[in-house]
């Protein structure tokens, strides 16, 4: 199924789930659970916790489907944001600090190979984001990756990249400004 049909189907199913239609939630689950589970696993790196979070994610979708606003968000963006926020909440609630593996810029570049997954997310949006990420400095892109994919805080990123906290904040903020400017060109 292509991106556009999926997008319409998920949006319609969200509207139906918002009216209390369980079948519609199941449709959303069947289409998106593998993606959202992968997002949770990437952040939490712990299977049973990621499964618990995935359950919370779809219960949140069930409760909030009625307030999903297609004018504000695309359905996949909305779902991914719920999954990331839930996973990050769990991550932050862990009592112990995670062992932070250092981020090497060279490794980041080697890892920087997006795989096409155009069924759930538009290929055009992916290509544009990638093009703009490529305009950032390597250390900026590496820091954003650590935040987006691993759920790192400013403090954790500073530790992983061995720079003072203030430097990390300024890297990320500058990177976000450049990213927005590029995406809006």
């Amino acid at each position: 199924m292509d991106f556009d049909s999926n997008r319409k189907l998920i949006a319609a199913a969200l509207a139906a789930a918002g009216r209390g239609d369980r079948n519609a939630l199941q449709t959303i689950y069947r289409l998106t659970a593998a993606k959202l589970f992968a997002v949770c696993m990437r952040i939490l790196d712990e299977r049973s916790e990621a499964e618990d979070v995935l359950q919370e994610v779809y219960m949140t979708v069930w409760r909030k489907a009625g307030i999903f606003d297609p004018a504000l968000s695309s359905p996949m963006t909305w779902l991914i944001a719920i999954a990331r926020n839930r996973a990050i909440d769990h991550l932050r609630a862990r009592s112990q600090n995670r062992h932070m593996t250092p981020i090497e810029e060279a490794a980041e570049l080697a890892d920087d190979k997006p795989t096409a997954d155009a069924a759930l997310q538009g290929a055009q949006e992916q290509a544009q984001l990638q093009r703009c990420l490529d305009t950032l400095a390597g250390h900026e892109r590496a820091a954003l990756r650590g935040a987006f994919f691993d759920g790192n805080t400013y403090e954790e990123l500073a530790e992983r990249m061995k720079v003072p906290l203030g430097t990390m904040k300024s890297w990320i903020r500058r990177a976000m400004i450049k990213l927005k400017a590029c995406l809006e060109q």
């Binding site: 999926n6 689950y29 593998a34 499964e51 963006t77 926020n85 795989t115 997310q121 984001l129 903020r173």
Partner: protein, 230 residues
Amino acid sequence: MTDIGNHESFSADEMLAAEYALGVLAGTEREAATRRVARERAFAALVAKWEERLAPWAAEIPELAPPPQVWERIAAALPRATGQRAGFWQSLVFWRSFGVVSALAAACLAVLLYLSAGSQAALVASIEGQGQRIFVASVDVKHATVTVMPVAYRPDPTRVPELWLIPSGGKPLPLGVLTADRTAQIAIPPALAAQARRDGILAVSLEPPGGSPTGQPTGPVIGSGRLTNL
């Protein structure tokens, strides 16, 4: 908070929205931002824009199927379907207007549905067991959906009907739980869509509420039918 220096092109709210959407905030800063998303529409819109900008990055993460128990736990936690208002799938004018016609007419109408929709790639199956047509199904290949209408299905007091796709020479693949009294429209997961082709078998088994816990049929198969072109 560290001075944001020469970042004057962003308002403080815009920067906070970007940081929240990226996920770098922690502790009270994150909690405060979460509260503002819930309460302030303008701030929520800024966050939504940033989520939209960043979300395509998630396409890099390869999909990973969760175990079937996750959906079972979700289904068990949902309020029961009884008394629920008519849903989107059930309000389809087409099915509602033909809800009482005979099984044969239903099959003909499934044909007409796809012809009138201009679909080039539609398959139908009559799901039969013990000499009775119990469900009629049509597959819209282009949109990877299967629409299943109950015909002579008699509800089981403790179990629910679940639909399976059996590719020729393959194992049953779960498509979703059906209901006794309403037409179900089920999206075929992208991973299974290629299997929904001519001569595949659609089968219905009886499963615990929420569907088979194992991903394979656990109860009796009460009917099956072969997918054929229109």
